[in-house]
Amino acid sequence: VRFLKLVGIVMLFASCAFAQKQQTPLPKDLPPYGPEKPLEAPSVKIAKLDNGLTVWLVSKPGFPTLSYSVSVRGGLAADPSDRPGISELLSNTIDQGTKSRNAKKIAEDFQGAGGDLSANAEKDSIEVSTTVLAAKAEPAMAVLADILQNASFPDDEVALAKSNLADSLQQQEADPGFLASRAVANVLFGKNPYHVISPTKGSIAASTSADLRKIYAQRFRPDQAVFIAVGDFQNEKMLELVKSNFGAWKSPAESPIAETPRFTPDPPHAVFVVERPGSVQTTIEFAAPGPLRGDPDFESAVVANAIYGGTFGSRLTSNIREEKGYTYSPRTSVNTYRAAGALVSHADVRNAVTAATVNEITYELNRLVTTSPTPDELSQAKRFLVGIQAISLQSRASVARALAALWVKSLPPEEIGIYGKKVAATTADDVDSAAKKYFPASRAAIVAVGEASVVREALAPFGMPIQTAP
């Protein structure tokens, strides 16, 4: 977290300088920028064990550490409809006991290797990962393998995790960003299981150890899993270690859980209000369907987004932060999952400028659709994206995470290198096409979290239907 904060601060300063440079023209005699230098994909040794476990290994000498990351198919979107979000409870309890270790022993074994286990429920997968000292590669893998094959979900640990998860949910519900994300998922994905971003009070209360054991047995199987290691090791030795720890893992006879088929959300262009009494700010999100990671125009959409609102020098940030001071840090992103994508714009603004901000976001979305990027805008966006990809993949843990995200989408490791090259090759025409396809404001649903009377009065003049968020 500290690292992310630091990178965030550095990026903010770097991009502040960037934004200011735009205002003062550069001297004429400066040499031109060199060409972008996209990141090369890491060299990945790919193997498959006899039991179907996919293995991706990246040998990366240097600091004496390594990251392990294991993902299984089936996450929040695969949860039973009467147990929405149970994947999160499963993530919180998978390391709370095995046939031979209790929760404390598991935590101590990871700590002794220099690690901590992190387990996360995503829409399409559950990822279990840790970063440890290279000298402790063996004991760390032994405890990881134990958790993945023998988790026991003891009743007392599940009861405590349920109670703490219910309290955390209550805590999250104070956060307007969480409320906005939940409403956006509901509005965008509707009845599709993709709308689940967290458990509910009811689903937490209803979940039992038996439920968790059943879901664990369904999803944690070698033929639906990838084992990724990145760091200071030799591939051959690591592969032997994987075989000896995971070779006996068996997939059950029944077929794996069904995949969510690809779908394109079709949200109404309407305002959805989430009441937050006493709020002095309104959190505004625009959400529209976007491309999938493997789509031919994914990179064009990412470049378009960087010009629109995804960078500090972007049009939206220059407009509502730098010029008008409506908000401190607006942000927009192209989010991709296995079966659907979303284009989301976010701004927290003081109550008095709620309407003005909705107006400006609408304007900037439509301006992108109607106004081609200038050569400077295009080259700055591409340069930023190519550079930030390299910066974001400096740690072993982040490389492992990025590879896991690709595997979940059935994409190969080479995508890491393809992305930068496609970004660098993106033309103004590509941006225009992606803009016309994805960015018209009329494609977006609008979620507003805040004082309901303020929001309703402020947004009435836009003439869109205004309703309470589902």
Partner: protein
């Protein structure tokens, strides 16, 4: 910058009308960086706070069930326990369930800290946390901008960047008795300030709390 030593415990309660669950922050004044006690302080802070195997997580979240989460350490959350120059704190930040009282949390907390001050850690506990701290340090230094930051702070504070390279091996020199002595000297009530931040009681007619279901 120097501060006068704290001589009595300070306690404050603040209300927060948007908070849903209460939280407690406990801060102890720390010795100056590079004083003989500082390294033992860094290790003590991590023993108490770092991860699920930490003493406070095990005691408060798992055994006594009086906390939802525990975070903290020496110089937390400003930076790592080595990169400071002026006065700093060891802070514990504890989010606890609404049905638990501040006093229950503090009683469990004090019992853990007093136990550490009385007995010190076992060599095994110390070995584990040193492994974790080394891995955490490498994870920080692995990122070039963070490496540059660590090196520049070391040069700024000590005139040399040597400490960045010796930190992993220096950690292994800390003994259980140094940790015990540190806890006895610094983790005492007269040297601390406690802030309890609680959700404001719902005022009548304010409507139901915000949040979509």
């Amino acid at each position: 910058v120097e501060e006068k030593p704290q001589t009595a415990e300070r306690r404050e309660t603040e209300t927060d009308k948007l908070a849903r669950v209460p939280a407690l922050a406990i801060g102890y004044r720390m010795p100056p960086a590079r004083s003989p006690d500082a390294l033992a302080g860094a290790v003590t802070g991590e023993l108490l706070h770092n991860g699920q195997a930490s003493l406070l997580y095990q005691a408060l979240v798992k055994d006594k069930k009086v906390a939802l989460s525990v975070n903290g350490g020496l110089n937390w959350p400003l930076g790592n326990p080595f990169e400071y120059n002026g006065p700093t704190l060891m802070t514990s930040f504890i989010v606890y369930p609404p049905n638990v009282t501040e006093d229950q949390v503090l009683a469990a907390y004090d019992s853990t800290v007093k136990d550490l001050a009385a007995k010190g850690p076992s060599q095994e506990e110390l070995d584990r946390i040193v492994a974790k701290m080394r891995a955490d340090l490498y994870a920080q230094l692995e990122i070039p901008i963070n490496r540059a930051s660590a090196l520049s702070h070391a040069v700024l504070f000590t005139g040399s960047f040597d400490s960045v390279f010796t930190a992993p091996s220096d950690l292994a020199k800390v003994t259980p008795d140094q940790v015990r002595a540190f806890a006895t000297k610094y983790l005492v009530s007269t040297n601390r300030t406690i802030i309890n931040r609680v959700p404001a009681p719902a005022s009548p007619g304010a409507g139901k709390p915000g949040g979509a279901q």
